[in-house]
Symmetry: C2
Subunit: 355 residues, 2 copies
């Protein structure tokens, strides 16, 4: 069994404004430590996936940044989608490319911008899932045991009785719940956070796409015929032009009869907002995470990022401050989700230079 | 009667960091509208003091800025103190310079960085005070009828019965009071805010200095002999080297028997902090004063100054934000007095480039 990885790196990360911009979305930023998130995502596969088997699916504006950050990956493995068509198309494209190279490939599908703590547990989970996916021809998702009644994640319910050596049959996918529902999910014990990480054989996911998303399948067959030929990118553009924006969850996972879940017993976060960054950061005794030359007086439980400018904060708590070259964000922590509204404002007011 | 003005412009304004720096203290900043505070202070004398009779007492680091901002004043009227020695020395120096030019001069002594609303009332007050000071040889202070139990100002108590056509004999000077005392002052009706503005004949204040501060007087006589001669600045430096730092309030006003008060029935503020700037600024319907390209969402009662950088603030109230080229301040409004502690921090940590 040979493992391949597909790293999905097309997201814009508008909730990370003003650090994330079109050219520098979240996955290309150093948010924790010395590496960018996509570098961490690739490094985290050391020992289980060969570099030449790691594929990055991205877009035109981010490609240059990715090539710079990941110089050790083969150039051909950095694949540029002509337009974003959500995860189903992205996965279809990656799967035909990988199948072309290895018809028996087992692929790990991973977002580029999540944080994981506990590398050994992560590897063990991936390897166990890959073995199951290869043998049983199933689509395996990684479900994270919920730590709190989180309303920002989707959930997956399993049939606890269907235990195939710690891999479980999935009963339902649930959208982001309200708080009361999230509490119920947490208490039930059979709901897990949908991590957006998948493990399957490339041929199996393509079979499922053929069944549930025949248009995507047909498009991808056209793409497959063009692999390695002149005009590949042109064919891809034509095919993508016909595709609808559909997520793999909606298009396949919620319909397929072959969906399984493996519990991910490692630390995980999709780092969905500055609030999540605050929570995942190391803090000082006042509960502050400070990056830069920062003076604080009567300040607690705040995330202050200002690497280029001496910054003084006085008499505030639960604050997020992000000072970038051309823009400044000051936000109450519990309003971190509202940062994405700034992007709409910038669009409407034609201030695209700040996006 | 010829009027002269002495504008005291030596202050550093550490509570206005990061806009005020050593070279650009509060009086040299555009805080309200298109003019700097010292330009407003000079312009406010139009019609009652001739330009050639306006003297600015400042220091080495601020002199260039003042020359640039006040090109219409005679060069010799911008006087550089070798070191700051508080207001008594500043006033002694200005008085001998003015006496040398006009032994009968009546001088208005004014801080460079106060805000006044109601120019006609201001002029009327100054002219009435000048007439009284000239005729009665008194030292006249301007007292502002208190609008609230302010603990940030000194107070002056008058003898209401001693009414010399709306100029009153002063009973006592009171330091900044605590809140309970400030309430009592407000209710008493005979306490007024000490505006730091004085009107007197130059010869009268020099006589009082001779009586109550003989060392300062002797020093100033040495300075007087050197006026117009080579080596004046050297003599000044030697004399200033011997002087103690004493305010005119402590050195003269609290001791002299000739102290009077005229009520200033115009809008006045010493603009002592960013909080005062907020209060004096025009606000939008959310109670915000915004300077720059500022996005606000769920933000009220805040002062946001960020002229060079697109700035977004979300979910906060009663905030002060000052974004300057090399430093950023974010402060709760009721903590505006604590901004000056940043200056101590910068000194201790040898971050003088930010001062």
């Amino acid at each position: 069994m040979k493992l391949y990885a597909v790293i999905m790196a097309g997201g814009v990360g508008s909730r990370f404004w003003p650090r994330s911009k079109k050219k520098t979305p979240k996955q290309l930023l150093k948010i924790f430590g010395e590496n960018t998130m996509i570098q961490d995502t690739v490094n985290r596969l050391d020992g289980i996936v060969e570099k030449e088997n790691i594929y990055i699916i991205t877009n035109k504006v981010q490609k240059a940044g990715i090539l710079t950050q990941l110089p050790h990956l083969p150039l051909n493995n950095i694949v540029e989608e002509p337009f974003g068509r959500n995860t189903a198309a992205c996965i279809g494209l990656a799967s035909v490319l990988i199948q072309h190279k290895d018809p028996d490939a087992v692929t790990l599908v991973l977002p580029a911008d999540h944080i994981i703590k506990g590398e050994k547990e992560f590897h063990d989970t991936l390897l166990k899932a890959a073995e199951f996916a290869d043998k049983e021809k199933g689509l395996v998702t990684i479900g994270i045991p919920p730590a709190r009644p989180e309303t920002g994640y989707g959930y997956i319910q399993i049939d606890e009785k269907s235990d195939f050596d710690h891999v479980f049959k999935v009963l339902t996918f649930a959208e982001k719940p309200n708080y009361a529902t999230a509490v119920r999910f947490l208490e039930s014990g059979d709901f897990f956070w949908n991590s957006g990480m998948f493990i399957w054989r490339a041929d199996v996911i393509m079979e499922e796409i053929k069944t549930y998303m025949p248009e995507l399948y047909e498009g991808m067959m056209v793409v497959k015929d063009a692999i390695g030929k002149d005009g590949f990118q042109e064919v891809l553009t034509n095919v993508y032009g016909q595709l609808k924006k559909i997520s793999i969850d909606y298009g396949i996972m919620e319909k397929s009869k072959k969906v399984y879940l493996i519990k991910g017993n490692f630390g995980w976060s999709d780092v969905g907002s500055w609030e999540a960054v605050y929570e995942l950061s190391e803090k000082d005794e006042d509960g502050n995470a400070k990056i830069g030359n920062i003076y604080t007086d009567m300040v607690t439980d705040s995330y202050i990022y200002s690497p280029k400018k001496f910054t003084a904060v006085i008499g505030l708590d639960n604050l997020i401050v992000i000072d970038n070259d051309d823009a400044l964000l000051i936000c109450k922590r519990d309003k971190a989700q509202d940062v994405k509204k700034i992007i709409d404002y910038l669009k409407i007011n034609k201030l695209t230079e700040y996006m």
